[in-house]
């Protein structure tokens, strides 16, 4: 959606205007490409305007629906993941998990902070495209081990000491793209964990090396279960490309849990065109994944985790009302640790950016010590303090979630339902499959 200010008349004689098509950003990008011959690689998620959970509201209680007392009547937030096949499902106290982020893209201190914060409130963290570190395993009571196309650092011992396994097919920032870690972040330790030369630009594979398609994936999952004695829940993570079909196929392949990551999901590094132009918004992806699960009577039997742009307890509540069992947060967790801190404004300015816009997560210069491998920057992040900040933030999300659930009369957050929601825009009504506020109309489903 274009900035309407481009219509502004900039001279009074001829009424010259800026172009909508060739807006200042487009012109900047053309000029930069012409000058450097390089496409833009950056971190963070989609920055463009998209339909989001903000376009939905809860109805709240009324004469026909009575609310629960805040602070007095209990509102349960616990969730069990992996009830379908795993002998040891995961029990979490809150339905908000930490998404997969690699050691390499993040500093060891950042990984430890995530583990500390998540463990304090009874939820899980997830490894990433760089293997499992002791910092993370040691400080995470519940740790999900990602099984990625690159298989960097993959080994059966870590597989067995994980609490769950997440087979990564794709991620929201770049469905169809592999991991990327530029040379400046490939330190000796990162290189060793990934069996790569130090300092090279590492571009991970985008497809798994030993399976293709859903039938192979079913066999791969069988192998992972055999290696771990059928104990660990197996998640399948997909980028929001075709979430309806991918969810069906993930269930068919034997997933205990499906993770759907919408296009607002961030990455440490990929092409800007990938981040902004591939995949569908989280709002649309949740509806499609839930529709798939309900269509085969697997909703709640295979758990659904939704991620991509979750910021507040309201986002969590809306995702759950649409049918998710839990959510995962990545960017929000990094902000809680200290990313985008206005107190670092002077340093952001030196990097040519500002707090809130900082996106060069690939560059390894993060003044907050999070997306870096430089020891002097990493040392700025105190894992105990940062972990506490994350725990605080997760508690607030949980309290907000409970507030909204109680307002809708729910004694468990999983009792939130689509009927509690209305959409503020036609786009959101169509994507989320809930009626436009003030009507019974769901675009494509009638009721107008």
């Amino acid at each position: 959606m274009s900035d309407q200010s481009n219509d502004r008349i900039i001279d009074q004689t001829w009424g010259q205007r800026l172009s909508h098509s060739f807006d200042p950003y487009s012109i900047h990008e053309i000029r930069r490409a012409a000058a450097t011959g390089l496409y833009r690689i950056r971190g963070y998620g989609a920055k463009r305007v998209l339909p989001t959970f903000d376009d939905l509201v809860f109805l709240g209680a009324s004469i026909s629906r009575y609310p629960l007392e805040g602070y007095r009547e209990a509102c349960d937030t616990s969730v069990t993941l992996g009830t379908r096949f795993a002998k040891k499902p995961i029990e979490l106290k809150i339905p908000i998990t930490i998404a997969g982020m690699s050691f390499g893209s993040l500093s060891a201190n950042a990984k430890e902070s995530l583990g500390r914060g998540a463990t304090e409130v009874g939820t899980s963290t997830t490894t990433g495209d760089g293997g499992m570190t002791q910092e993370e395993r040691g400080h995470s009571k519940t740790l999900v081990y990602q099984y990625l196309p690159s298989r960097y650092g993959m080994n059966p011992d870590d597989l067995r000491r994980a609490d769950a396994i997440e087979v990564v097919v794709g991620q929201g920032a770049k469905p169809g793209g592999g991991g990327m870690l530029l040379g400046q972040k490939i330190t000796e330790r990162v290189a060793k964990m990934r069996t790569l030369p130090q300092g090279i630009d590492q571009r991970s594979a985008c497809r798994h090396p030993d399976w293709t398609g859903p039938d192979d994936l079913a066999i791969k999952i069988q192998e992972l279960r055999e290696i771990t004695a059928w104990e660990k829940p197996i998640y399948i993570k997909i980028g929001a490309a075709r979430p309806y079909y991918d969810t069906l196929l993930a269930v068919k392949a034997g997933a205990d849990v499906v993770v759907v990551d919408g296009m607002q999901g961030a990455t440490a590094a990929t092409q800007e065109c990938f981040i902004e132009h591939v995949g569908i918004p989280t709002l649309a992806a949740v509806k499609e994944a839930v529709r798939a699960l309900k269509g085969i009577d697997m909703h709640r039997r295979v758990q659904l985790i939704v991620s991509g742009g979750i910021r507040s307890g309201a986002d969590v509540a809306k995702a759950l009302a649409m049918g998710a069992d839990a959510v995962a947060i990545g960017t929000a967790a990094l902000v809680a640790l200290g990313d985008q801190d206005p107190a670092l404004e002077a340093e952001y300015e030196k990097l040519g950016t500002r707090a809130g816009a900082y996106e060069d997560w690939q560059a390894g210069d993060d003044p907050a010590g999070i997306t870096t491998q430089r020891p002097e920057l990493m040392a700025r992040l105190d894992p105990e303090k940062a972990g506490r900040r994350l725990a605080n933030y997760l508690r607030v999300l949980t309290l907000e979630l409970q507030t909204l659930a109680r307002a809708n009369g729910k004694s468990h957050v999983h009792n939130l339902e689509p009927a509690d929601l209305r959409a503020l825009t036609i786009e959101a009504a169509a994507m989320a499959g809930v009626p436009l506020a003030g009507t019974d109309w769901v675009p494509g489903q009638g009721g107008f």
Partner: protein, 235 residues
């Protein structure tokens, strides 16, 4: 590591997939830390003998399906037939011997140990190899050692298209023809240290009558290690 010669009919533990479930067979093998095991009636079952964790000997009495001996540690697994996709995938150590042919992605991402294929291996043999050694006595298919990071691939026969595409530090030795080399893979001179390591590998894989001097060596030109827009033709 135990060797087959130590086994006598009295101390062979027999497992039979006609009577036992895959979970029972794998469970017995995964818990074992010593001994010689024979698995009868494999019938091409998938994920057989995966996740082994000790210096045991396993003989598979027939053909195996996908991911035979996946993530193997220390065990020596011999299949008296052919193996499906991803045999010895992500092997950490030990040995896997395929008496017949191997399907695609043989030895994918393997970190250590030795995989020997007496017959041919299909496409993507040694894909993303991370330190293991693979010896194929027949030929390998296209895209073998794609993005291979470390370890060695030895091919006594021919290699298909795009050998070693986007190769990192793995070393490839081919005795026969290479149909084509992948992006950034080049032929390199055979120096003394290469002849020596190849002779050792040939001996370990029991390639009698084959000399290291018959092979050519291929490796990474390392020109794609850091992104350069001038390399656009490769991307």
């Amino acid at each position: 590591m135990a060797t087959p010669s130590t086994a006598t009919p009295e101390n062979i533990v027999s497992l039979d997939l006609a009577d036992q479930s895959l979970r029972e067979v794998n469970g017995a093998l995964q818990e074992a830390r010593a001994g010689y095991y024979r698995v009868r009636n494999p019938r091409g079952v998938h994920a057989l003998a995966c996740g082994l964790d000790g210096p045991i000997e396993v003989e598979i009495d027939g053909h195996a399906g996908y991911y035979l001996a996946g993530m193997n540690k220390e065990a020596r697994v011999t299949v008296q037939g052919s193996a499906g996709v991803g045999v010895a995938e992500n092997m950490m150590s030990g040995e896997v011997w395929v008496q017949g042919d191997a399907s695609q992605s043989a030895g994918a991402t393997a970190h250590g140990g030795l995989l020997v294929v007496e017959g041919n291996a299909s496409a993507r043999c040694g894909i993303s190899l991370k330190g293991a050694d693979i010896v194929v006595k027949g030929s390998v298919g296209h895209m073998s050692c794609f993005m291979a990071q470390a370890g060695r691939l030895v091919v006594l026969g021919d290699a298909g298209d795009s050998l070693g595409d986007s190769l990192y530090e793995a070393r490839l030795y081919v005795r026969g023809n290479v149909k084509s080399l992948g992006a950034d893979c080049v032929e390199k001179p055979m120096r003394d240290e290469h002849l020596k390591e190849l002779d050792e590998l040939l001996a370990r894989a029991r390639c009698e009558g084959v000399s290291a001097s018959e092979f050519r060596r291929y490796g990474s030109a390392r020109s794609l290690y850091n992104f350069k827009t001038d390399n656009i033709g490769f991307y």
